[in-house]
């Protein structure tokens, strides 16, 4: 008995050493077979247990089993270590290499600005309305209190479409204000809409002009609407758009379809960065009673205001863009910046 027990410890130590020395899973398996396999050295030792006297068996068995458990645990540990080692790539990964990118496209900056404008108006009860870009003189001018011989028509150089001789040519709307007329003729007051969209002027393209550009128009008609409401709304929207430090000022101006009319200047960190305290940004005013009469609203009951501004201008100020033509070239180097 003493002979068996004496062999256990050295054999165990030898096995542990061999397991530890195995450099890969194959070597470890060979070591396992040579000790714990059916013909292994340790297995052979266990087989000798049977030859021991009955009273010695439990004590000897206990020693052997504990040694075997120790070996198996060591084997499992070593196997995990070697498996982990085998799973690693030959060379460590260079985590500074660029990854394999999936492209996410981007919205055009004018779309982004339009959406920002729409979002801020919607917070205060406005909905979005729309109208045709091909218009007629009535909706674009006459109904807006700008008859054919009115000097104000001079400042809006209009694209007329080709038309058969004798027919009144259609035109490309020069402002989104034409939608005011279409909406008011269609629905009874109150009205609370904004209208983003493309408009057209006969300007040759340069850094500040493009024959196509985009505007947003706001129209609010209700009982007892005042200039104060107009100021409050304009202030709210521009603070949303241009930041909470934005200040607004109104200056008297002239538009044929509003009375009184104002131009709106704003002032913020952005304007000061451009070296200006005030920057003209929009036009507005109280809807002219003649316009109400033209659409069949009673100006004695309803009052309202409208304002409009250029989307490109907002985007140019917001992002510091210096050439309007960039918006329509669709250069990816431009589009991917927003």
């Amino acid at each position: 008995m003493a002979a068996i027990l004496d062999q256990i410890e050295p054999l165990k130590q030898a096995a542990l050493a061999e397991f530890g020395a195995a450099s890969d899973l194959t070597a470890l398996e060979q070591a396992r077979v040579s000790y714990l396999g059916s013909n292994g050295k340790f297995t052979a030792l266990m087989k000798q247990l049977g030859s021991l006297p009955k009273e010695e068996k439990p004590a000897a068995g206990k020693v052997i089993n504990s040694a075997k458990a120790e070996l198996e645990a060591a084997l499992a540990r070593r196997r995990e270590e070697l498996e982990l080692k085998a799973a690693l790539p030959k060379e460590p990964t260079d985590f500074t290499l660029p990854g394999r990118r999936r492209v996410l496209g981007r919205l055009h900056p004018l779309t982004q600005v339009t959406e920002a404008i729409v979002r801020s108006f919607r917070k205060i009860g406005f909905v979005v309305a729309d109208g045709p870009e091909v218009e007629d003189d009535y909706h674009c001018f006459d109904a807006l209190n700008t008859p054919a011989d009115h000097p104000a028509r001079d400042t809006q150089d209009t694209f007329y479409l080709a038309a058969p001789a004798g027919a009144a040519p259609a035109l490309l709307r020069t402002h989104t204000s034409s939608v005011q007329i279409r909406v008011m003729r269609k629905q009874p007051p109150p009205v609370r809409i904004i209208v983003p969209g493309r408009v057209y002027r006969r300007d040759n393209a340069d850094a500040t002009h493009n024959p196509t550009f985009q505007q947003v128009e706001g129209l609010y008609v209700d009982r007892q609407v005042t200039v104060g409401d107009l100021k409050g709304t304009v202030e709210f929207v521009f603070k949303e758009l241009m930041g909470p430090d934005t200040r607004i000022r109104f200056r008297p101006h002239y538009f044929s379809y509003t009375e009184p009319s104002f131009e709106i200047d704003f002032s913020s960190a952005l304007t000061r960065k451009m070296g200006k305290e005030w920057l003209e940004i929009a036009g507005c005013g109280m809807v002219h009673p003649q316009v109400f009469e033209n659409v069949g609203y009673d100006p004695e009951v309803w009052t309202g205001w409208a304002f409009g501004f250029g989307i490109e201008r907002i985007a140019m100020i917001r992002y510091g863009i210096n050439d309007i033509r960039l918006f329509y070239q669709n250069d990816l180097r431009f589009l991917s910046q927003f």
Binding site: P98, R100, R102, L104, G105, R106, L107, L110, I124, G125, V127, V128, A129, E133, V134, P151, A152, D154, T155, F159, L161, A162, A163, P164, L172, Q187, P190, V191, R192, Y200, N204, N210, P211, T226, V227, G228, D229, K231, G232, V234, F236, R249, F250, R251, P252, H253, Y254, S256, E259, P260, G275, M286, H288, P289, Y328, Q329, N330, D331, L332, L335
Partner: protein
């Protein structure tokens, strides 16, 4: 409109600095677009005389001049050609700086060689001096200018002044004059407007002995005032007069013409001076008669700019009994203008119908300071005063003696317009409470006079708040109704003082609101698919439009250029332009989409009806270059976009957006745009197309890789999309997959195979997927192998293999029978 600080001060007192004044005017509605200091700013600029002028030895368009600057001669190289030796010009000396324009860096003059010849200074144009917007050539000064005199002094004394450039809105013609602007300041300050005192000594017999006036059309000319001055001496204007005009960018001509211009700028009334001796009288008449008449069609008339104008009926002329002498309100005639030897002068001060002046000026493409004022509406009440003022200044600067009075033809008595105001409406519209006295005070400061109050209803309390009627001064042609008066109150009260009130009131409603969100959703999906949003020009060339819509494109009447003469009938030409632009800047991999409107004509609905223009919304995609962003390893990394990239994008977009059941029908022939393409259909409805660009076109647009284009009719898509979603319970039982690979003729489409599946309706079939198409190898030429995976599943129990096999086998038999498919084992 330009006006100077010092000139304004002659008519009204105010104690604002020049900067304060700019701010006040701006807030009153006269936006100050530019402010320039005159005086300090012309440091180093002197009056010089050109001695000689020779051609530059090395440049055709330059000349080499010797000029005298008052202290000595210097050599100057000059590019202008409107001057000759003897002319006096402004000269800036080396080391001195030109007045800076807003936003520009100041420009300092240096001694330098221009094309090899030294130049010691620069002779200046009015534009370089900031005195005019644009000007050709040098500023030629009056012959009496003293050589060496500082230019600022020449312009009107050494005293510094400030020139304001004001934006006058078209409704306020009364502000196109110094007195008009001073009147605004007077109203704002409450100070008195100081009219120049006009006292005339009339030493000649009455005007009616010298001229008669016959107005044939009193509607087009409601007033015509003629005054005669005899024995004037035409000559250069005195420095104060010429300087005043030159500060406004107007060239001095002679004393009489300068006076008419000066009075126009002073009070806003355009005047015209005729050489009296050139007005002919009819035989036997004692004096000439001014006839205000309409032109005959085709009548020819030489205006004083030397251009012969062909007139149309309805244009208004000033004539004598034998000939026309002026185009009314626009420009005088060459046949009657003031000459160096003119002695007797007739001053016209009239009022013309704005619409008529505007139509004539537009038709002849002839715009003048005079037409500018008349077409906006002149003050019928000022004609005689302006004429008297001109007479006073002519007597003062050109001598002569004045005929007594004037011949003043007035079609109807001048009656001021009346407008009634309800005080309560002011507060109602402005959102600020103003006492009735304050309202009336503001309006009276603007020279509106109360002419009556509505009688107070019986029993109502007395007070000034009954509606009050105002007489509108004749110079305020813009004040027509109550709301116009309210605006005046707002201006004088101060728009800044109106408090802003938080948004309130009705919630809006409009059918388009939801559509706006749908479009935003479409954009969101398309960007998620890796496409960048583009926005193209609406105006494109007719040739680009013809690629996609021959015959139905909408043309502009008067295009700016042939590049932009047609409304886009499709978004695809614009996307091609965008691809071309990117590739010209060496961005070769481009994937874009655009959502936008297109325009096409619809054939006329009936005989004689005009074709209708339709606006439609479209969504379009364009791809070229590499499919994936650059990566540093991998087999397929250089792969280029192909038609199935495009189709995959269209399919994914449609599925995400809620459009099911599309089919793709190949076009048998190439089109103008596409090499190979398919129509996208929803049932029988065509809702779009997709395909590959013609290689010849690709070359024209400098596109070297395949270009894939798709366009969808977004209006139809919006109508047809299904956005409702309902939950299906997750499958509770396992699925069984069976694959089949079959060899079929090349002409057998995927769609044909799916049709067989659909008609066979195999039991428990859940889905079918194509996973391989293979040609070559064992597959005979003209045939292809297509491999499909079929998934079978029951919702009630686990299927057995036998059940799945039975169902699948029946399907395979159908492939063999219906398609002649050979099943590969």
């Amino acid at each position: 409109m330009k006006v100077t600080f010092n000139w304004l001060k002659e008519y009204v007192d105010f104690d604002w600095s020049p900067a304060d004044l700019a701010e006040r005017l701006t807030m009153l509605g006269l936006e100050v677009e530019g402010v320039e200091k005159v005086g300090g700013e012309f440091d180093g600029i002197v009056v010089a005389e050109v001695i000689t002028r020779e051609k530059h030895p090395n440049a055709d368009k330059l000349s080499v001049c010797r000029v005298h600057d008052g202290t000595g001669e210097r050599q100057i190289v000059c590019g202008a050609d409107n001057f000759k030796p003897g002319d006096k010009v402004p000269l800036i000396l080396p080391g001195k700086t030109l007045p800076a324009k807003p936003g520009e860096a100041p420009f300092t003059i240096k001694v330098g060689k221009i094309r090899g010849v030294e130049s010691h200074g620069m002779m200046c144009s009015p534009k370089e001096l900031g005195l005019a917007e644009d000007a050709q050539g040098l500023m030629i000064l009056r012959p009496d200018a003293r050589v060496g005199q500082p230019f600022a002094e020449y312009l009107g004394g050494a005293q510094s002044d400030v020139v304001y450039d004001l934006e006058i809105t078209p409704n306020r013609p009364d502000l196109n004059s110094v007195i008009g602007i001073a009147r605004e300041i007077a109203a704002l300050t409450g100070n008195e407007l100081k009219w120049p005192e006009v006292k005339l000594s009339e030493t000649e017999p009455g005007a009616e002995t010298w001229v008669r006036v016959r107005v044939e059309d009193g509607e087009l000319c409601p007033r015509y005032n003629a005054r005669v001055i005899r024995g004037v001496k035409i000559g250069p204007s005195p420095a104060w007069l010429a300087g005043a005009l030159e500060k406004l960018g107007v060239r001095s001509i002679n004393n009489v013409v300068d006076v008419t211009n000066y009075v126009m700028f002073e009070v806003g009334q355009p005047l015209h001076a005729f050489d009296y001796r050139l007005l002919s009288k009819s035989p036997g008449a004692a004096c000439p008669t001014i006839v205000v008449r309409r032109a005959g069609a085709g009548e020819r008339f030489m205006t004083l700019d030397g251009q012969e104008r062909i007139l149309a009926e309805g244009m208004l002329l000033i004539a004598d009994e034998t000939k026309a002498v002026a185009l009314a309100g626009i420009m005088g005639g060459q046949n009657s203008e003031i000459q160096p030897d003119t002695t007797d002068v007739l001053i016209e001060s009239a009022c013309f119908k704005p619409q008529n002046i505007r139509a004539t000026s537009k038709r002849l493409d002839l715009r003048t300071e005079s037409s500018y004022r008349f077409e906006r509406g002149s003050d019928i009440g000022i004609c005689d005063w302006a004429s008297r003022r001109a007479a006073q200044l002519i007597l003062q600067t050109a001598g002569g003696s004045l005929a007594a009075g004037a011949v003043d033809a007035c079609a109807a008595p001048i009656r001021p317009r009346q407008v009634t105001l309800r005080h309560a409406k002011v507060s109602e519209l402005l959102g600020v409470e103003l006492p009735p006295e304050a309202i009336e005070n503001y309006l009276s400061r603007l020279e509106l006079k109360i002419v009556g109050r509505k009688p107070r209803p019986v029993g109502a309390p007395a007070g000034p708040s009954e509606p009050v009627t105002f007489a509108i001064p004749t110079f305020r042609v813009d004040l027509k109704r109550e709301v116009d008066l309210i605006e005046e109150v707002a201006r004088l009260y101060g728009v800044d003082r109106i408090p802003a009130t938080p948004p309130r009131g009705a919630i809006g409603a409009n059918a388009y609101d939801a559509v706006h969100d749908e479009l935003a959703e479409a954009r969101r999906i398309l960007t998620g698919l890796g496409l960048f949003e583009a926005q193209g020009q609406t105006l494109i060339s007719a040739s680009a439009a013809a690629l996609v819509a021959a015959g139905s494109a909408v043309s502009l009447g008067k295009p700016l250029s042939s590049d932009m003469d047609t409304l886009r009938p499709s978004l695809l030409p614009g996307l091609l332009d965008a691809l071309q632009h990117n590739i010209s800047y060496k961005t070769y991999d481009v994937a874009l989409f655009e959502l936008g409107r297109v325009f096409q004509t619809q054939p006329a609905s009936g005989p004689g009806a005009a074709p209708e223009i339709r606006e439609m919304r479209r969504a379009a995609i364009a791809l070229t270059g590499r499919r994936q962003p650059l990566f540093w390893s991998g087999e397929d990394r250089e792969a280029k976009f192909d038609i199935f990239d495009l189709k995959g994008l269209v399919e994914e977009f449609c599925e995400q957006f809620g459009l099911r059941g599309l089919s793709y029908v190949r076009r048998a022939e190439p089109t103008a745009l596409f090499l190979e393409s398919a129509v996208i259909q929803l049932g029988r409805l065509q809702i779009g197309e997709l395909g590959q660009l013609q290689p010849m076109l690709a070359r024209k647009y400098d596109l070297r890789d395949a270009v894939l284009l798709a366009e969808l009719d977004l209006d139809q898509v919006l109508v047809r999309r299904i956005t409702t979603r309902s939950f299906k319970p997750l499958p509770a039982y396992p699925a069984i997959r069976r694959d089949v690979a079959m060899v079929v003729p090349e002409t057998t489409t995927h769609e044909a195979i799916l049709q067989v599946v659909k008609q066979a309706k195999p039991a428990h079939l859940e889905s079918v997927e194509l996973f391989d198409v293979f040609r070559g190898g064992n597959v005979p030429a003209g045939q292809k192998s297509m491999a499909y995976a079929f998934t079978y599943r029951s919702g009630e129990r686990s299927l057995t293999d036998a059940e799945a096999n039975a169902s699948h086998q029946r399907l395979v038999e159908q492939f063999k029978q219906r398609l002649g498919a050979v099943i590969r084992e």
